[in-house]
Symmetry: C2
Subunit: 296 residues, 2 copies
């Protein structure tokens, strides 16, 4: 267990590696190259692919975000593999944001918090994504365990999918529901505050809505952002960075996540051997890092 | 795979067993009697306790609802155990509503839908609870897999925890957000409609707010309810049944879930052997069934 708050560890990693990029480790079954094994043995292909992705990419981004649902599709073995991948990332000194989108009441939320952020038999991730629809009391176990173990909690506020408008954008007192969720998080931010001045109570705010990211930054000046939707989901680097602010080594204030553009670029999909595949995904990650830096 | 829609299977089970009771299989680590093993080996105690609970209780309720988060707290082995428990319930001809509260976009939601409702390596549960905050597109993979496999989907609408007021009760156009979530589900209900006239697109509506359950029934006349919060969470049988309607064998229209009052009654906690424990939990389940029937 690190005694350094998650927020400070993420800011430090971002400065050290010179990027706010977070690589989304999304093992889409239909996109895993046959280089990693035949479609007839999907768990073996998943295992080899995700291990290779970690070995190829772990040193580059500020953090890696494994998408737990895509591992769970492979059953208990996929779930166990995801925990192993988290351990491997930690061994590479790379921060892990487990994308689990959990949320439940009381002791069940405590179960999910222990599973995601706790040590063995937990995933021991550095942060976890959570859904707050059920209410602030459902965040409490996550906040308590995060504070005790110097971990982070990333709350879904305004997501980047088309359906985000269905409920998140409904107007309450003349402004969107998601702003009320954000406002409710504000008083909790100090619980996970680091010496950097940033809070490890992250907010998930989609890159597809830059005006909203700016509004969110004004409401939550200390909360780190987890910005999905950069790259394949359509948003450019400037939009993804809309909620970021100047720091000593460039823009800071969170991480910007990209998955498909890095894990499945055409050159990687066409690669005939592991060395070519590795070079292609590293080049794609470095291109994303350069693209984000150019937009600052 | 059953060709009979989940809604019809739940109504049939409820009529056959003469109850709308759903037993929540919530293995709270601090409440598992030491009869099932020492606290120093929690996974062994969890395994013996949950297997004993299934053997003791599976024939009584209309359905059983395993609380996945409390299994995940034990890591990948707990996750695998929950799947095994689901298989065991199915072998007892008891319907399984997996309480997972999943929710994510696109292919990730598809991963969770396959994990929960799909056959091996999935849990093959009869229904799964989901969180719709991210939008209706996040329900699509669950609905598709549910329709293809004659399964159900239970959407969180108005939960029974104190924090439910934080966001679910915020007023949109003069009425609570949860009513907008309910309204949005209405057109989707026909996708999982059974010959009974009921839809397997269930709504989770807490027993602590009976007026709201009645309002919800008026909005969604065909959707089965999953009512948590009966028993230990404080709501009585009459409140829990507020959204139910007369059927050929008594009130119907969903299930009412109870966990603590059935799994951990004082007599079971004090039991010195398995036979006494078994008699105590069965008596508690039968008392809940009688309490619900008396309130009709």
């Amino acid at each position: 267990m690190s005694p350094v708050p998650f927020a400070d560890r993420l800011i430090e990693a971002s400065r050290r590696r010179g990027t706010v990029l977070c690589i989304g480790l999304d093992p889409f079954p239909d996109l895993i190259p046959t280089l990693f094994g035949p479609r007839t043995d999907p768990l073996a292909a998943l295992t080899r692919f995700t291990q290779a992705a970690v070995e190829a990419l772990a040193d580059l981004p500020a953090a890696v975000k494994p998408q737990l649902g895509l591992f769970e599709a492979y059953g208990p073995d996929g779930y166990a593999l995801c925990r192993y991948i988290c351990e491997t990332l930690t061994a590479h000194d790379t921060l892990v944001i487990l994308d689990a989108k959990r949320g439940d009441i009381g002791t069940t939320a405590e179960g999910y918090a222990r599973a995601s952020l706790g040590r063995q038999p937990g995933f021991d991730a550095d942060a976890v994504t959570v859904n707050a629809y059920m209410g602030l009391d459902t965040l409490r176990p996550f906040l308590n365990i995060a504070r005790a173990h110097s971990k982070g909690v990333a709350v879904l506020v305004r997501t980047s999918n088309p359906g985000a408008v269905d409920f998140q954008d409904l107007k309450v007192d003349g402004r969107p529901l998601w702003t009320h969720v954000a406002q409710a998080l504000c008083p909790l931010s100090t619980e996970l505050l680091g010496a950097s001045g940033w809070s490890g109570l992250m907010v998930v705010a989609g890159a597809t809505y830059p005006e909203e990211a700016r509004a969110l930054r004004a409401m939550l000046p200390r909360n780190l952002f987890l910005v999905p939707g950069y790259g394949a989901q359509g948003a450019g680097a400037a939009a993804a960075l809309a909620g970021f602010v100047p720091g000593p080594k460039g823009l800071e204030g969170g991480v910007v996540s990209s998955s498909r553009a890095i894990l499945y670029p055409p050159a990687a999909q066409a690669a005939g051997n592991l060395a070519d595949w590795r070079a292609a995904v590293r080049a794609a990650a470095q291109a994303a890092i350069a693209d984000l830096r150019a937009a600052e």
